[in-house]
């Protein structure tokens, strides 16, 4: 194919061990583009939404977008999706690295995996051929070991693997791409584990074509120039995503001590991007074809938390294993990050769950005996290191935490659920809505549960971007205001979601002019999308996933912020400020076309070309 797409998808039935190809009509590709958007459209059409997330009937989908493999900056992303075992609703996650482009070169735009293998297996995709083979040598090993084992035969293959956490169905388990990039959120590693699928490998050499090479070259050049000119890109290159820690502490963005403290500059200065750069950074690393190179490679050479040189923590991890649990030892954060990578666990939910446990231990709701006599005092990283292994292996107290923060809190009773900060079952990412009310609404309305990447609210509300050519927006939003934020979040979703369907990194999206993104997309696909067409695709994506969630029982009762966030802080930039949940939600519902009960209106479904969803929702 010459329009960015490979032209075919792979269907894998693990129960029968059968692989086959299928195609999707261009009309549908134009509506959903790719990534998690296309996955949601297949999910609605072909699968039983009410299947148990860990059953053979729940499909695991891996989807590229048309820009993947084009060489365009930031176009290495791909999405995975399934009904989430962590939340019980639509689940998805995306990551960069090099698996997406390699899958495209191997001839596929995506893979849909169903069934359950009777024994552990590996799915190998090599130049239009797919093969299922035994994973007997890998099962029980961690992600780093599995990746090394699989690459021993061919170092050029790209690997997606689960660790022990995925095998043991830990509810927040992840899937790792070549050790460095993770499908982290919503527990999709457990879906892979439930299918006895240890790893997927890809190898190919068919470069996808572009419809208009000349136009593409021009937009590529513009993109490189815009990235070179971007202070945001420079900060990412120099300090990684943790560059925002210092600024975030000043603006009330950073969660501290399980969302109970508003400011601690000493803590942030020890965990921030500049500190990481000056201490443990060995080099920067880039996803396929990305000039930003925001990924950190680190090594801890001395002390109790030594690690080999490997992938370093993102901002989110520096919070979840740093500020959230009152740990100021960056080496210990790096160690916890490495363990999560190896076992295959989402660092946000793993850290958040441990933070809840520490909070409950301090309040006397978890006793020493219940915690296997581990000392769960705030900041005790020796305990955290032990606990991560117990969670991954589901041992004792670790088994309780392995089911996630809500399940653990429910297990311990009393008012333990008040200490869990989640929306729709997904632990909040590390951005405090009391400093940024728009982020609070974005958490409330994200279709996979509390999320900072299903939209561009952070970029807009925190002033990292300015896109007046797309929609009316302010250059300098007041974070602590709820008024008018609904429109901002709505717009930020419609554009930000495109990152996931085009498969374009959000950081790169923030650095580029929207016209450069649009022109590159059009040059690759040969389409002639205007901004309004792209934004409509974004709106369709959001609405489709909301409709799926409606079918799974999501209503207005679920679009709420947790008690932790509705409790005002005493100090810091977010002090004495909580999002006005009702105002935000009411305004948003009107703009988005939802009924007061939170259902997608019939006319909105028809307006966005989703008649099949209307049939299912309003039959």
């Amino acid at each position: 194919m010459q329009n960015g797409y490979s032209g075919k998808f792979l269907q894998v039935d693990l129960t029968d061990g059968v692989c086959s190809d299928f195609t999707i009509k261009e009309e549908r590709l134009k509506k959903f583009i790719g990534g998690s958007s296309l996955a949601a459209s297949l999910y609605l059409e072909r699968f039983d939404l009410h299947a148990n997330p860990l059953s053979a009937e729940n499909p695991l989908m891996l989807m590229n977008g048309p820009m993947v493999g084009s060489g365009f900056p930031g176009s290495s992303r791909f999405a995975m999706a399934a009904k989430s075992p962590q939340t019980g609703i639509w689940g998805e996650a995306a990551c960069g690295g090099n698996f997406g482009p390699e899958l495209k070169r191997a001839g596929y735009d995506g893979v849909v995996i169903t069934g359950k293998s009777p024994r552990p297996v590996i799915l190998s995709i090599n130049n239009n051929q797919a093969e299922i083979s035994s994973a007997a040598d890998c099962w029980g090993t961690d992600i780093y070991e599995t990746t090394d084992l699989l690459k021993a035969a061919d170092k050029n293959i790209k690997v997606m693997a689960i660790g022990q956490a995925g095998e043991n169905l830990v509810k927040f388990s992840s899937i790792g791409n070549d050790k460095a990039h993770y499908i982290g959120r919503t527990g999709l590693g457990a879906v892979m584990g439930s299918k006895n699928l240890k790893a997927i490998t890809a190898r190919g050499n068919q470069a996808p074509g572009k419809v208009n090479e000349e136009k593409y070259k021009k937009t590529f050049k513009a993109a490189i120039s815009e990235i070179k000119d971007s202070a945001f890109a420079e900060s990412l290159h120099l300090m990684g995503s943790d560059a925002i820690m210092d600024l975030g502490m000043m603006n009330g963005d950073v969660p501290i001590k399980n969302w109970s403290i508003g400011e601690d500059f000493e803590l942030s200065s020890k965990l921030s991007g500049p500190t990481l750069t000056e201490t443990y950074l060995t080099k920067a690393h880039a996803c396929s074809n990305c000039p930003v190179a925001c990924k950190r490679v680190v090594a801890v050479k001395d002390g109790p938390y030594q690690t080999e040189e490997g992938p370093g923590p993102e901002y989110e991890t520096c919070c979840s294993f740093g500020t959230m649990i009152m740990n100021s030892d960056l080496a210990a954060v790096i160690k916890a990050n490495e363990l999560c990578n190896r076992y295959g666990m989402d660092t946000i939910s793993a850290g958040a769950t441990i933070a809840v446990a520490m909070d409950l231990y301090e309040k006397g709701i978890i006793s020493a005996g219940a915690a296997d006599h581990l000392d769960l005092a705030w900041g005790n990283m020796e305990t955290v290191i032990v606990l991560l292994g117990k969670i991954a292996r589901r041992e004792g107290f670790g088994d309780i935490l392995a089911n996630g923060s809500i399940s653990a809190a429910t297990h311990f009773g009393a008012n333990a659920l008040d200490y869990v900060a989640h929306v729709k079952g997904l632990d909040l990412p590390m951005h405090d809505p009391r400093g940024y009310h728009g982020m609070g609404l974005a958490y409330m309305m994200s279709n996979r549960g509390a999320c900072h990447l299903q939209h561009a609210a952070m970029g807009m509300e925190q002033g990292m971007v300015s896109w007046p050519q797309l929609f009316e927006m302010k250059e300098d939003y007041d974070g602590k205001t709820s008024q008018g934020k609904a429109q901002m979040v709505f717009d930020s979703e419609n554009y930000g979601i495109l990152g996931n369907s085009l498969s374009l990194c959000h950081y790169v999206l923030y650095c580029l002019k929207p016209e450069t993104v649009r022109d590159a997309f059009n040059a690759i696909t040969g389409y002639n999308f205007a901004f309004k067409d792209l934004l409509e695709c974004g709106a369709r994506d959001w609405t489709l996933k909301r409709g799926i969630n409606n079918l799974l029982g999501i209503t207005v009762k679920d679009d709420v912020l947790p008690k932790k966030i509705l409790t005002a802080l005493r100090e810091g930039a977010g002090a004495d400020s909580v999002p006005n949940m009702k105002l935000l939600r009411d305004e948003y519902y009107t703009i988005r076309g939802l009924t007061p009960g939170g259902m997608v209106r019939q006319e909105k479904l028809l307006e966005l070309g989703l008649p099949e969803l209307k049939e299912k929702l309003y039959k």
Binding site: D229, A231, S235, L238, D246, L247, P274, T275, M464, D476
Partner: protein, 141 residues
């Protein structure tokens, strides 16, 4: 209360005095070392007929030279920040956060960005103190 015309030496002196008198600044900026040159691009319709060059120097909580200078002097600054007149005015009036202006590409920084990020509180405090100087802007005359 005295008022000062923006971009004049008197205006810079008033700003310098505000910073020097701030105990909070002294504490926040105790680790800061280095000069910051500010360049305001010409904007004739706004009564800024030619570029404005300013040089400000800070050292461990103290303030040193604050000068209206020429282009050559600005190139000796540890940090050089360049922007359009309208942007500088927005920033000085706190209508636009300086960090946001930088990230949105409305201000350009030459210098060690890591150092600026680590010391973002210092940067913001210096701008906060500028808002306390009663300023008459060229296009307000």
């Amino acid at each position: 209360m005295a008022t000062y015309n923006a971009f004049t030496q008197e205006w810079l002196d008033a700003w310098k005095q505000k910073i020097a008198e701030s105990q909070e600044y002294k504490e926040i900026a105790k680790d800061w070392e280095g000069s910051v040159a500010l360049i305001c691009n010409a904007d004739p319709p706004k009564n800024v007929p030619k570029p404005v060059y300013l040089f400000t120097d800070y050292w461990h909580g103290d303030v040193r030279d604050f000068l209206v200078c020429d282009g050559a002097k600005t190139q000796t600054g540890n940090f050089i920040m360049t922007g359009d007149y309208a942007r500088w005015k927005q920033i000085a009036k706190k209508e636009l956060d300086a960090t946001k202006a930088l990230m949105q590409g409305k201000l350009k920084l030459k210098g060690d960005l890591t150092y600026v990020v680590r010391n973002v509180k210092t940067v913001n405090k210096v701008i906060d103190l500028l808002t306390e100087v009663n300023t008459v802007w060229p296009d307000d005359v």
